[in-house]
């Protein structure tokens, strides 16, 4: 994967901050994505470029089951989310829609927003600031879903 | 006598206040925020096309419906110089006068004009359109006073010694 810029967020970053309730019933993800992280950084949707990364702390994506949360990140071109840990439903949803979610204990504390980073998914490593960080590898089952491009892609393949 | 010329936008009969400014926008903080939604249920593009000095020509009962004063305010904020209609609904009429938005009743013009035409209004006298003159009547004295004061707010400021 190529270099991308890091956008870093705090521990226990909940899904209401990623995409607030009032936007969930908009007709589609494209209409929603302009409100991503609105309460924390209203400029985020304009600043983020395809290939950039979101970095979080512990329990990233806690809260609701709204799949709109990983979906708006993916729609904005976020390449992957790297965090110390993820909340369960967010994690599952991200895999299902084909957004890589990477657990890496050391990296989040070592980086700042604006840093450049490179992620090697199959090797399970991330490089930034001249250092290489090893990440927890996904179970094979989930890697398969990801490599197929998400759950729907796998469904269409089977069908 | 005051005279002005402007481009015409034409609307039909019974243009209600929900068309002029729908309820969902009424609680916005300012008229400036609201005005982009003027006429949106009927002609969503209209607000962005109107330019300062344009004239609105409508059929009968313009401004019927609610008492929302936001209605004449957004029309004025869009830069509409005056509204010419076959007739006006009562509350809209009062609200417009109180805000210094000029309204003119003229029974015939609407049927003989099309959008994009240019017309010339001579206040309290006549409208000239396509080479033809359309007579207009003047307002009652107490309303002229309010308009001359520059609207009700200014009239009251004067009363309260603020100007």
């Amino acid at each position: 994967m190529a270099m991308g810029k890091i956008f870093k967020f705090h521990n226990d970053l909940d899904t209401d901050q990623i995409i607030a309730s009032q936007y969930l019933l908009l007709p589609n993800i494209d209409e929603m994505k302009v409100h991503t992280f609105e309460s924390l950084d209203p400029e985020f949707p304009k600043k983020v470029q395809p290939g950039d990364y979101v970095v979080g702390g512990e329990n990233f994506g806690c809260g609701s089951s709204r799949e709109q949360a990983p979906s708006v990140l993916k729609a904005l071109g976020v390449k992957a989310v790297v965090a110390k840990s993820f909340a369960r439903i967010f994690y599952r949803n991200a895999i299902n829609i084909g957004l890589p979610v990477i657990v890496c204990k050391d990296l989040p504390d070592a980086v700042e927003s604006g840093d450049e980073m490179e992620l090697f998914l199959s090797e399970g490593v991330a490089k930034t600031g001249g250092r290489t960080y090893s990440c927890t590898k996904l179970p094979e089952y989930m890697q398969q879903i990801l490599s197929q491009g998400g759950l729907i892609a796998s469904l269409n393949k089977e069908g | 006598m005051e005279q002005f010329t402007g481009k015409v936008w034409v609307l039909d009969d019974d243009i209600d206040t929900d068309i002029i400014i729908p309820t969902e926008y009424l609680a916005m903080k300012t008229i400036e925020e609201m005005r982009q939604y003027a006429f949106s249920p009927l002609r969503p593009e209209l607000a962005s096309k109107i330019t300062s000095g344009d004239i609105l020509v409508a059929g009968k009962n313009f401004g019927c419906g609610s008492s929302r004063e936001q209605a004449p305010e957004v029309v004025k904020a869009l830069g509409i110089r005056c509204v010419i209609a076959k007739s006006f609904a009562r509350i809209f009429f009062r609200n417009a006068i109180n805000n210094g938005l000029l309204l003119i009743e003229q029974p015939d013009l609407h049927d003989r004009i099309k959008e994009g035409d240019t017309i010339t209004v001579t206040v309290n006298q006549a409208i000239e359109a396509g080479g033809k003159q359309y007579p207009i009547t003047s307002l009652p004295g107490n309303l002229v006073e309010i308009i001359e004061a520059g609207g009700l707010v200014k009239a009251m400021r004067r009363r309260n010694g603020r100007i």
Partner: protein, 416 residues
């Protein structure tokens, strides 16, 4: 020369013998009603005009109803502005979640027969039901009244409407006023007063009269007038004085028009999309599929209306995939409907009962629809986009008709 009801009220207010239509006079205001949508604008204009005191803080009633409960984050700013103004000027009458303004103005004991009342909402004509002169104004004029206690008005001409006889079963006062609006046209009574009389009117409850006075504006009228009677006295909890008792149109009064109807001739009707004067008998519209029904508003959200709907819905179910929303007009009505089992009947039939307020009628929340959907509603306006988009169709009807439509899932006649 005799006088109409409105002429008598205005003359009494001015302390003169008589007034003539067309005269411009300055009246002393008995009550003003300020609503939550307009309050920030009223307060701004009030201060801009240079006022520091309300002429009589006990005569102003501030009511939160359009924005209750708040559906957008900024709505609560209106409450805060209103509360601050009430505190600044010592307003004593503030209703924050008690129901719709026009219901509360008479129900809570403010407006009495013969009063002159202005409100920042067009349906202020409603108080004509108890024989008051009341009409809607903008927020700038409201600010001026708050400062001065007065307002200029042009004495309106009066159209007299006489309805004799007894209404057929299944016909409500809503059907009368809709038919009348159809006959007069949406601007047929512009600047005029509508004065109602006749034996059918005398038989009517105050609630039924309210529905008619409420919708007078939809024919363009400045105000509506009903003669105060024993029912009025009971409703207002007063003894009528001589002036109030005399509030009837004189036989030799000037009327610009007199319309006479036989009550027996009325049938259930609807105002079709998207004009209030596009009136057709329900019979002719039968079978039109609907998505939603709304029973409520300052027009038809009273106990009598809910009871009429409950009678139709008793033991039945709202049609599958159709939504019935019921919005009582006030906290008092809600509690009465609770006590007498009407809410139970409605909910058991599948209704969604919301907290008293303007709800769907004001088009901000409470059941907004989308393109291609059709709603039958008991409120007062079916303007384009009022309850959704320009492609949402609104049919206005009586509570009985609305309830029948909810059961059928299509336009239907209550007593068929």
């Amino acid at each position: 020369m005799g006088q109409t009801i409105i002429e008598k009220i205005i003359a009494h207010n001015l302390g003169v013998q008589s007034v003539k239509p067309g005269e411009i006079v300055t009246v002393n205001v008995d009550w003003v009603m300020l609503d939550d949508i307009m309050i920030p604008f009223i307060v701004d204009k009030f201060h801009e005009m240079g006022f520091t005191k309300v002429w009589d803080p006990d005569k102003a009633v501030l009511i939160y109803d359009h924005l209750v409960p708040a559906s957008q984050q900024d709505d609560t700013r209106h409450y805060r502005t209103g509360d601050a103004f009430a505190k600044e000027c010592g307003l004593t009458h503030v209703h924050r979640s008690d129901g719709i303004c026009h219901q509360l103005m008479t129900e809570a004991g403010y407006v009495k027969p013969g009063d002159v009342v202005f409100g920042t909402d067009s349906h202020t004509t409603t108080y004509g039901c108890v024989g008051a002169f009341s009409t809607g104004i903008g927020y700038t004029e409201m600010a001026a009244i708050l400062g001065t206690g007065t307002l200029w008005v042009k004495v309106p001409e009066t159209i007299k409407v006489v309805i004799e006889g007894t209404l057929p079963e299944g016909v409500m006062s809503k059907d009368i006023i809709l038919r009348l609006i159809g006959d007069l046209g949406a601007d047929g009574a512009t600047y005029r007063a509508l004065e109602f009389s006749g034996s059918a009117i005398e038989q009517m409850s105050i609630s039924s009269r309210m529905a008619m006075a409420n919708m007078a504006i939809e024919a363009g009228a400045k105000c509506a007038a009903f003669t105060p009677d024993e029912k009025t006295a009971e409703y207002c909890e007063i003894e009528l004085d001589e002036f109030q008792k005399g509030l009837k149109g004189d036989a030799d009064a000037r009327y610009m028009k007199i319309l006479v109807y036989k009550a027996e001739d009325f049938v259930p009707v609807m105002a079709c999309p998207s004009q209030v004067d596009k009136i057709r008998p329900v019979e002719e519209l039968k079978g039109t599929r609907i998505d939603q029904v709304f029973i409520g508003s300052c027009t038809n959200g009273r106990l009598e209306d809910l009871q009429a709907a409950a009678k139709v819905l008793e033991g039945k179910k709202v049609a599958p995939f159709v939504k019935l929303i019921v919005n009582p007009a006030s906290r008092k009505i809600y509690r009465e409907a609770l006590a007498c089992g009407v809410l139970k009947t409605l909910i058991e039939a599948g209704a969604i009962v919301t907290h008293p307020g303007c709800g769907l009628c004001c088009g901000r929340t409470g059941g907004i629809l989308c393109d291609g959907q059709r709603v039958v509603a008991t409120n007062n306006r079916n303007f384009l986009g009022r309850m959704g988009t320009a492609k949402t169709e609104i049919y206005l009807a009586s509570p009985m008709t609305a309830a029948a439509c909810a059961v059928a899932g299509e336009i239907a006649v209550a007593v068929d």
